[in-house]
Amino acid sequence: MTANTTVVPARGLAQAPATTAELRAMLPLVQVRDLKVEYNAADGLVLDGVDLDLFPGEMVALLGSSGSGKSTLMRTLTGFAPITSGTVRAAGYDVANLRRGELRSLRASAGQVFQQFNLIGRLSVLTNVLTGGLHDAGPYNLIGGFRSEQRKRALELLDRVGIAHKAKDEARSLSGGQQQRVAIARALMQQPKLILADEPVASLDPQLSDSVLELLRSIAREDGIPVLVSLHVLPLALRHSDRIVGLKHGRMLVSAPTEGIDPRSLDVLYDGEEAGDVYDA
């Protein structure tokens, strides 16, 4: 940074930061600029000029109808989707230019939560959480073991998500809400710098949806990491996010703080036939 450079307060802060911690909190952990993604020429651009910043401690809801590019945007952040042009920086990595080892390190630092939980059903809840630490499991893992400090941490995380009493049970024996909590604990086991949750409550009933999203929001605040969560139900986004980002046909049409947003202004994200569905909480 040159002497002439001034720090522009981000996120609407009135004054420049006083401490390093404040400065760090203002720097985005994810920075996407003019991102274009095309899987094949026939289908055209799936993402078209997307800009996105994710800051520590915020929960950002990603809205849009099916095929709007939500999942693709999430996949580009961890190198699972091709970047046709533009830049994607996540957790300190330039995602477009990573070698295999760096890509694994990026993925290890980005916790992911999936719609179908993606747990290993026949293994215990504890082992499922431990798999979040595979990147750092060391030589024990060659014969399926994990270090005792990893086991201790996994149990603490199960305490945090409220299902430590199920630690020895097979993951497949748990209810949907409990399985998603295990998946969140697995993501936390990675000691992530950010969390990406792709439709994490689409398979859950409204009550469980609220509790899972509240858990994710508390993680964002307490751990000071950004959580990007794609949602299909608008009231859930309004209740549980700090900021709403909206995609339609691969273009970002909305990016605004949730507080004070007019829900009707989000109708632009949905085609007429889907607009009614998104209000069903």
């Binding site: 961890t78 699972f80 694994r104 390190s105 990026l106 993925r107 290890a108 630092s109 980005a110 992911q112 999936f114 179908q116 939980f117 993606n118 747990l119 290993i120 059903g121 026949r122 293994l123 798999t131 979040g132 630490g133 595979l134 990147h135 499991a137 893992n141 399926g144 998946a183 697995r186 990675q190 007429g272 036939e273």
Partner: protein, 277 residues
């Protein structure tokens, strides 16, 4: 709230002709299905004719079959000690052959699973298994008998190689059929390829792998009996000798003992399969 079966204006409608066909009680089979059926029948008749299958001849031969079976009774258990000893050797051959065969098959299956390996590994692995599968175990047994001499060691080597072709393919297909969700999750946490297999694939495929391994073991016990015919150890040699010497009582005792052992093993593995699936 009223419900209506009228389609929405914006909804695409089903073609009326397609709707009429779908509403029929019995669907007219597709042309390719009917052609396939006719071809299958033609091939079946051609095969029957080619092998000289003849029900009349079977009827005429029933008398001879009855006479052969009658000679098997009463069984002669005077050499029971020898039979038990050889049966134990047969089962030992099957155990060693199954363990070696399944471990090697597991490795070749990783290479032959399209979801786990790149094409340049996948195709050679599949071709290797196809070649091995095309060669009868007896040929492998003859090859190993000439290499390491008569005895169970040659049989075990033949069994191990034969297992690669059969069970390796089935293992690979079991691995291909697992839910990809856990594999995606493992890649997402930054797991290595080995860890993706260890946690994303094997726990899901384990019940099928164990089940197929038990089937392989059952098959190897029966196979070990056959391998003995070419001097590759086990009870097969004693069985052949009894047949050549027209020692029907002894032959009958051997067959009864084999049936007992195979039944016990089948029941045991069926029990284990029930427990793990």
């Amino acid at each position: 709230m009223s419900t209506t079966l009228e389609p929405k204006k914006s909804q695409k409608e089903l073609d009326p002709e397609a709707r009429r066909q779908l509403e029929q009680a019995f669907a007219v089979p597709r042309t390719r299905f009917m052609l396939g059926g006719v071809l299958a029948v033609v091939f079946l008749l051609w095969s029957f004719q080619g092998v000289g299958f003849n029900f009349a001849k079977l009827g005429e031969g029933t008398v001879n079959m009855g006479a052969f079976l009658a000679r098997l009774f009463p069984p002669d258990f005077s050499k029971l000690g020898l039979i038990v000893e050889l049966l134990i050797e047969t089962v030992q051959m099957a155990i060693v052959g199954t363990v070696l065969g399944s471990v090697l098959s597991l490795f070749i299956a990783f290479a032959a699973a399209s979801t786990l390996s790149p094409k340049w590994i996948y195709y050679p692995a599949r071709w290797t298994m196809n070649v091995i599968r095309a060669v009868p175990d007896l040929v492998f047994a003859l090859m190993f008998v000439s290499a390491v001499g008569l005895g169970p060691f040659a049989g075990i080597l033949a069994m191990t190689l034969g297992s690669l072709g059969s069970i390796g393919k089935i293992y690979a297909e079991a691995m291909e059929s697992v839910d990809t969700g856990p594999m995606v999750a493992m890649r997402s946490v930054g797991a290595s390829h080995r860890q993706v297999i260890q946690y994303g694939v094997l726990p899901q495929a384990a019940p099928l792998l164990v089940s197929y391994t038990l089937l392989l073991f059952e098959g190897n016990v029966r196979g070990a009996t056959i391998l003995g015919l070419v001097g590759a150890g086990g009870i097969g040699l004693e069985l052949t000798t009894a047949m050549r010497m027209y020692d029907y009582g002894h032959l009958s005792a051997i067959i009864i003992c084999i049936i007992l052992v195979v039944t016990v093993i089948d029941q045991g593995s069926a029990f284990i399969r029930r427990r793990i699936t």
